[in-house]
């Protein structure tokens, strides 16, 4: 039934799209490729001193990946999943917590002011153009929260050519997902509208954990269980409207998502329910709207951005099953109204380019919830970020300082500095240092005292310094290889007053500021092509995060993570993709005794663009038409990122993706 509803919604979108005549490029045979072996240097992207990655969604066409999948394959990033498709997933960077990463949509912070993190499952990849990941920096732009780094989700907007794309797939656990997006110019207005729907029955079989001490096992009965009450339906949509206005462009963008489903919570128990919540439900609605003008005005700046935004979030959670307490029925509404102004001036003092950016922003949060008094909080900041390019861009010096203010926490200075040395166009060394901090969330401060859980209004902000240094090079051609890129970055984060939920009394947990901790790590990445048929990419992250006082590891993060991707085939004709993900042991408790085992997970996908096959004769109708299939966790490994949230074993899906 849900699948039918989704198909209906998609059909509506496709019907609208079908009114537009197909504008596929003329079918012409590709010229034969001539290969010249030798070494030809490449040119690195002119990125600043920070460790930044940009992932383009179109690079993964027809692979049926989620946003969480993409992020998980990035060095330094660990995605913590709480189940399968549609279940919560959170991003952490370099050993941070999820609330120490700012996740933004089109440059606007989307993290929940209530809980701090952002559920990645609420972001629909087909509606995104790209994902910008910054590791170990971002405080200058976002202020509070960018302790681990930032992730910016950029939605699809109209390009030079009209475009329509649609996708539908279905697979294990009665999961159906579809999307449709159309972008075009209508007179002076460029417009894009997209829809993404998701539905899953969601129940999957899993194996409960066995705990072992000195070789003596303890296990649940039965050992196998089913993830219950795990259905979910989700609708998301984007709208983008843009038009020239004065010396710039005005753009309205909106991202809305509604989600409703069961909340099975922890597993770990005997019997058919395995300790899960059988009746708990949640629904949430979020909307993020932004009006932004970008342009340049000679008198007041070379690159000016003025934006106002509104973020709305409503969550409802209910669990009628109550033992020795009242049933839970909580409704919370959060709103944020904010504005920002960025202005960049460029000069050439002493013949060297100098850019100075000034950023101003302010926001006001309001919380209204049925289980606590209403709260509000204002925040804002001002940042100045000069960047000097010397010796024909061979040396870049950048610095910045932000004065950040949050109601109840006063002001904080957040300085940063960076250095990039590129003696050659294809090799670059860089280093950066910066301070970050995070103001506690509403939940951390004011969670109502429910006996077993309570907030802590006396919390201090988290305070951190990030350092990293790296080396990277890129060769356009090296013998049989092309697009060879290798990067290595060492990083350190020193954090004080980090906020952790602690069992402070026999039955009460509450957030506490803890002592100092240090995270040291190394990120390695590399990629290459071998002819036009083979692409290989690999990332490796080593992480050693410990509390300074005890030298014990921090929980929740693997000590290492390896991702390997092999793509065969002449994209965009066909491709076969194999992925390997290896994750080290994960400490699961602050006491330091429990460890989730290391794991190796294999995934595979195959996709065929029928348009490229003359026999099908589709080129006159569409520009791309992909049939695809994917198998996740081929080895059927027991996978968990946290102790009490199982993830599915082997499961598969098939789909179709079409573009005009």
């Amino acid at each position: 039934m849900r699948a039918a509803a989704l198909i209906g919604a998609l059909a509506f979108g496709l019907a609208a799209a079908a009114e537009e005549p197909a504008r596929a490029p003329a079918a012409e045979p590709e010229p034969e490729e001539m290969v010249v072996r030798g070494v030809r240097t490449g040119a690195l992207d002119p990125i600043p001193a920070a460790s930044t990655d940009v992932l383009y969604a179109d690079d993964y066409t027809a692979e049926q990946k989620s946003l969480a999948d993409l992020l998980a394959e990035t060095e330094g990033v660990f995605v913590r999943r709480f189940g399968g498709a549609g279940d919560r997933s959170e991003v952490t960077i370099r050993g941070s917590t999820p609330s120490q990463v700012v996740v933004a949509i089109d440059g606007v912070r989307a993290n929940s002011a209530l809980t701090g993190g952002l559920d990645l499952s609420r972001a629909c990849l087909p509606l995104l153009d790209r994902v910008e990941i910054t590791r170990g920096a971002g405080s200058g732009q976002y202020g509070s929260g960018a302790v681990g780094g930032t992730v910016n989700l950029v939605t699809r907007a109209a390009g030079a050519e009209p475009e329509t794309r649609a996708e539908f797939r279905g697979g294990a656990f009665e999961t159906w997902e579809g999307s449709a997006l159309h972008a075009d110019r209508v007179g002076p207005v460029d417009a894009s509208v997209g829809y993404c729907g998701f539905s899953t029955q969601g129940d999957f079989d899993f194996v409960q954990r066995t705990e072992v001490v000195d070789g003596v096992p303890s296990h649940f009965e039965p050992e196998h269980a089913t993830r219950l009450n795990n259905d979910r339906i989700q609708h998301a949509g984007t709208l983008g409207l843009g038009s020239a206005l004065g010396p710039g462009a005005l753009r309205l963008s909106d991202y809305a998502v509604y989600s409703e489903g069961g909340e099975p919570g922890f597993d770990g128990g005997n019997g058919a329910t395995a300790g899960q919540r059988t009746e708990a439900r949640s629904r949430d609605l979020a909307n993020l709207a932004q009006l932004r003008w970008e342009g340049g005005a000679p008198l007041i700046g070379d690159e000016i951005e003025l934006a106002a935004y509104h973020r709305y979030e409503r969550t409802h959670f209910a669990d009628p099953v109550a033992v020795f307490r009242e049933p839970i029925d909580v409704d919370a509404r959060l709103q944020t109204l904010g504005a920002r102004a960025n202005d960049t001036w460029q000069w050439r003092p002493f013949g060297q380019p100098l850019a100075v950016a000034l950023r101003l922003d302010a926001a006001q949060d309001w919380l209204h919830a049925s289980d606590r008094p209403s709260r509000d909080r204002a925040s804002g900041g001002a940042a100045l970020e000069p960047a000097l390019h010397l010796l024909d861009d061979r040396v870049q010096l950048s610095a910045g300082v932000r004065l950040d203010w949050a109601d109840g926490f006063g002001t904080e200075w957040l300085p940063s500095a960076g250095l990039v040395i590129a003696p050659l166009r294809w090799v670059r060394a860089r280093a950066q240092v910066g301070r970050a901090y995070r103001v506690p969330t509403f939940d951390e401060l004011f969670h109502p005292n429910e006996g077993f859980i309570t907030g802590n209004p006396d919390l201090a902000p988290e305070d951190a310094w990030n350092y990293d240094a790296g080396l990277e090079f890129e060769l356009a051609q090296a013998w049989w290889f092309s697009d060879l890129r290798v990067a290595a970055t060492a990083f350190r984060r020193e954090i004080d007053e980090s906020i952790v939920w602690v069992l402070v009394a026999l039955n009460t947990i509450r957030p506490e500021n803890t002592g100092r901790a240090t995270a040291d790590g190394l990120e390695l990445s590399g990629s290459l092509r071998l002819t036009r048929f083979v692409r290989v990419a690999a990332q490796q992250t080593f992480l050693d995060s410990r509390r300074d006082a005890t030298r014990r590891h921090l929980p929740g993060q693997p000590e290492y993570e390896t991702n390997l991707r092999l793509q065969l085939g002449p994209d965009p004709v066909w491709k076969v993709v194999g992925e390997l993900s290896r994750v080290g042991e994960i400490l699961v408790d602050e006491g330091g005794s429990g460890h989730l085992p290391d794991r190796t997970v294999w995934n595979a996908a195959v996709a065929l663009n029928l348009v490229e096959w003359p026999g099908f004769g589709l080129r006159r109708i569409v520009s791309e038409l992909w049939l695809s299939a994917r198998v996740n966790n081929i080895g059927d490994e027991a996978v968990r990122d946290t102790l009490a949230f199982p993830q599915p074993g082997r499961h598969a899906s098939a789909g179709i993706e079409v573009r005009w």
């Binding site: 303890s218 296990h219 005997n270 014990r552 599915p648 082997r650």
Partner: protein, 515 residues
Amino acid sequence: MSRRALAIALIALGAPACEGQGDAGNGLVVERKPIAPNCTPVPGTFPSGLAVLSQASHRAALVQTSPPGVATFDLDAERPVPLAFDNIGTDSDRDGADDAAAMAPLVGFPLSPVMGGITALRDDLALVATSNYEQLLFYDPSSAAPRSAVVETPASTAPGAYPLLPPPGQSQLRTGLSTLACIRPRDPFDSTGEPTAASAVCDPAQPSYLTNLTAGAAVAGGRLFVATSNLVNGTRFHPGTVLVYEWIESSGALHVRPDAAAPALFTEHFNPTGVVRAVTPGGRELVLVTATGAIGSGTGAANVRSEGAIEVIDPAVPRIAAVIPLGLAGPSFDAPAVDPGGRIAFLGASSQRQLYAVDLRALDDARLYTPGADPVTLDGMRAGFPDARVFHAGAPLALPDRADGPPALLCEGFTDVALSAAGSELYATDFCDGTFTRVRLDLSDAPPVPFPPDRFQVAAQERPFAPSNAVGLLRAPGLVRVRPGAPGVDYHTPDVLVVAGQPDAQLCALRVESQ
């Protein structure tokens, strides 16, 4: 590529695509590794009970909540060595019905057992309490193996009085004894003064409720006594009960059935939890019950909603013979720790850093056991009877503060106590500040009842654990137990066991007298 090749590729990819169970290899094994040389991780979380067995066995049995079951440890090492674990299973009492499903008609949804305390009667028999599915499980604590008993329901028992016992007049070999009973309270008001409603699943015609939160148990005088807290929700309690069963061991077989004369005793105070058998200096066998009074899950004096007491059951009758009030004390939920001579019993406090004690010599007064008499309150206000209180809410034995302990607002104190094997010292842990305090006892001679407070002096306070708000350190000590026998003579390994570090707990062995 031909269409045939495409079809083959898709089929090849689809071949392994049947949904897996995520159980390749060994499934999901969580390794718990020791983090201190004297501590062993518990093979699960939230341990709820600990019992040390005889001097000869050198073993201890521990109850844990998740996975729910019983584990045994060998104590002849610097840290306890796990030997075996038994999951109670989905039909824990082996009555042929799934536990959770059996509870569903009674409460409206499935409820699985939640583990509670353990009472070791012998090296081969212990009673393990579970709540939600209310019962006592029979276990061999030396091997963590379930044991069976013949559970009977007298023919005279009213239908529905014990919803999960065999039907009246029948018996069944089971590994657990249901403590789910229909109660018609003598005083039908809960701890907030609200009248008790009629229960549709118990007695729709009059104020009634089903027992819940099965807690401590003890066997005395041929009877089994089981405390049930009877929580309504939050800090509201129905009147507390001690269920009474006949306990008959003959020819190696154990028979248990509801007591025909007095199947349930109502405690004078709310929330009966700990139960222990005691023998007074005069040789009188009694059952002591900790009744904490209505209490919340917070900390500090405000957490205590009504007065608590140690209530004294004469197991021979059975009836509550005496009450030793503690005031607004909020004692710990554990059973009173009784000295080997039966002269004094100590209790910790669940909301403050202090201890309570009562003088058991007052219980040798034969007048307390006059048939048909009301319970006598031994607070010194009853003519002819002494004040049996040594330390109570108005005059507690306060433990020293730890300078680097947590703020009182966070955790004022949660203490557990045990007495040394010789009865010369009391050991107290505090969950909040992580301290281990030794109190010297002077029980010599025969001073008037009650013992003067100055006979109990804090001898030392150690800091083997971190305060409860510390992160990444072993902290939050709770249950404390002492090995029987003379340390350094009967055994040479540590003499005290402490459960610390909830919820991912450790069983730690401390050398106190066994240096």
